[in-house]
């Protein structure tokens, strides 16, 4: 294992998200605020883990970066600065050039992202053809090269396969090949190892490690499982009910969490594989209640109703981010703000 260098704080971030607000309107006309002021940076070569459970806004965040929200979603305000421009103000043609080529998005379910009726090789060639002018021979060659990055053995056979002939792990590798096809600077992966068994999961995470080094990629890895980020992310952003609860270096957020939500979440997981007999089959300390209904607009902190450390102030207004130290910030009145 090699110690990775933390990005120099003076380096211009690759991606800067500022005060992003996204709302959905239901068919009944009800509005829900999926993201309520999210701000963070991603530095070149960095892997940022976004830790979020259902209802946290994590998938909305992934979609918003490339303005891929469904019809009933609207970016109300914010800035997404990438390679010198604000993606939220960019022309459609500019976005087209960026999507897939400069920023690639890997979705949760590979079986839904891949077209069932086209061979896998064609689907990779499609990505290349959309962004690069290559004639057939070159396209075929590059497709095989890309497949060889993710399938070192027999990429040609994989290229000829249909998605249903591949396992879940293999399908995920195809999505990764599509993502790196045009040499993007940033890959956003939303739960890339969901539904995969542990050994396949480990292989896919290992593949991300190899590729990020080889192609100097920045990664935003979105997951609800903190353990997946432990050995992979440089920093972790904890997302709760559309707000950043906590952000900082991985070891600080996961081993010395500050925000009551982060602490409660980590405490609710079985601690070790070889739990001593008296801890086995015991009640895990759970976070009471359920994630907040985002249709309800509360004035105060969105975690307040479930928080063991709630104070009077928490119902009055939202906590602002407070620096725990120069790399670690938390949005909680316990620490000031």
């Amino acid at each position: 294992m090699e110690r990775r260098l933390a990005p120099h704080p003076d380096m211009t971030p690759l991606l800067q998200v500022q005060d992003l607000h996204v709302a959905y309107t239901s068919r009944a006309g009800k509005k829900s605020l999926a993201l309520a002021g999210v701000s963070f940076d991603v530095h070149p070569g960095e892997t940022l883990g976004v830790l979020g459970e259902s209802g946290s806004g994590k998938s909305t965040l992934a979609a918003s970066l490339l303005r891929l929200l469904p019809k009933n979603g609207k970016i109300q305000k914010g800035v997404v600065q990438f390679e010198g421009q604000d993606l939220l103000q960019a022309e459609p043609r500019t976005l087209q050039r960026i999507r897939g080529a400069r920023i690639a998005l890997i979705c949760q379910e590979p079986s839904l992202a891949l077209h069932p009726m086209f061979r896998v090789g064609e689907q990779i060639s499609d990505v290349l053809a959309a962004h690069e002018s290559l004639y057939r021979g070159a396209l075929r060659q590059k497709t095989l090269q890309l497949l060889a990055e993710v399938f070192p053995e027999n990429p040609a056979r994989i290229a000829e396969s249909y998605p249903h002939q591949l396992s879940g792990g293999q399908q995920q590798r195809v999505l990764i090949a599509q993502a790196i096809a045009c040499g993007p600077a940033l890959i956003v992966a939303d739960e890339p190892t969901a539904f995969l068994d542990p050994t396949t999961q480990q292989d896919i995470l290992g593949l991300f490690r190899t590729l990020r080094k080889k192609f100097d990629l920045s990664l935003v890895l979105i997951t609800h499982n903190p353990a997946l980020l432990a050995g992979l992310a440089d920093r972790v952003l904890v997302l709760y009910a559309g707000r950043v609860a906590e952000i900082g270096p991985t070891e600080k957020v996961l081993m010395l969490p500050h925000h009551p939500y982060t602490r409660a979440l980590l405490r609710s997981m079985p601690a070790r594989l070889d739990e001593p007999a008296k801890e086995r089959k015991s009640r895990l300390p759970v976070i009471p209640g359920e994630a907040m209904d985002l249709e309800v607009f509360a004035d105060g902190c969105r975690f307040e109703t479930r928080c063991a450390d709630r104070m009077e102030l928490c119902t009055k207004r939202e906590p602002a981010a407070v620096a725990v130290d120069e790399t670690h910030a938390v949005s909680c009145f316990k620490y000031g703000g």
Binding site: R3, D274, K281, R283, E290
Partner: protein, 269 residues
């Protein structure tokens, strides 16, 4: 301790074009043997394709094994004719991984939970509703939501509904096939607590099929590791997870991500 379930040398082949493009026969189970004591939990782990779900379906009498026996409460059930199996099935229930797909989204919570009682045809309408409401309370679904449609519930609540439905016919054995895997981490803790509570209250026996070794270690008394249709390691959970003997077990343990990987800021390059 009373043995609730005993499986002996169970085999299952699938004939014909199971593998697209070939006429290959697939052997899902190659002679599986184990037993589960009443009121205890056996975790069944293994990689995808190791035969775990096939085993679950055979035990639940939803697939007929090719050979071997399944002895439930002292009686052989695998070879029985269909009508006799129907009498056993209520006592062995399944809870599946994906509560979105295993529940009819158009049914209300009450309808979902009372459906098994309706099919069994042994209660009046009033009795069905009373029992269903009691089950909803038992799994922590508030009464005001009894008439809400399934798709109005969160993932964790839907899984509670699936558990309530599985309890409707008072089973002795519950097969949980990746029942926690599709849930968020904090919700898994809630459902884990519910399962432990129900086991204690109702004297249930669990067969807990999972990829998640941490949860297996937390919920189970014993653990069986499957590889290519056979059980390759079986024993008390603390022993197997602390000193695994088989390579596949070691691999699964190594592959389990740990929060402690974050220590010292060391990230694998």
């Amino acid at each position: 301790m009373e043995e609730l379930l005993k499986v002996e040398n169970l085999k299952k082949h699938y004939q014909g074009a199971r593998v697209p493009g070939t006429k290959k026969e697939v052997t899902a189970l190659r002679g599986v043997s184990f037993s589960i004591c009443a009121r205890s939990t056996l975790a069944l782990v293994g990689e995808s394709g190791s035969g775990k779900s096939t085993l679950a379906l055979c035990i639940a009498c939803l697939e007929r094994p090719t050979s071997g026996s399944i002895i439930f409460r002292g009686e052989e059930i695998a070879a029985r004719p269909e009508e006799e199996q129907r009498a056993v099935r209520p006592k062995i229930q399944l809870v599946f991984q994906d509560p979105t797909r295993s529940l009819n989204p158009r049914f209300s919570a009450l309808e979902i939970v009372s459906e098994p009682l309706l099919v069994q045809g042994q209660c009046s309408k009033r009795e069905r509703e009373d029992k269903a409401r009691a089950l909803l309370a038992q799994v922590g679904i508030p009464q005001q939501k009894a008439l809400h449609k399934a798709d109005e519930f969160s993932g964790g609540q839907r899984q509670r509904l699936a558990i309530a439905r599985a309890l409707a016919l008072e089973p002795k054995l519950l097969i949980l096939d990746e029942a926690l895997s599709a849930l968020d981490c904090s919700v898994q803790a809630q459902i884990s607590n519910l399962l432990l509570e129900l086991q204690s209250l109702l004297g249930l026996t669990y067969l807990f099929i999972t990829h998640d070794l941490a949860m297996a270690g937390h919920l189970a008394d014993e653990i069986a590791v499957m590889e290519q249709g056979k059980i390759v390691e079986l024993g008390p959970v603390e022993k197997v997870l602390a000193s695994p003997e088989q390579k596949v077990t070691q691999r699964l343990i190594m592959a389990t991500p740990r929060l402690t990987d974050a220590a010292d800021g060391l990230v694998m390059a």
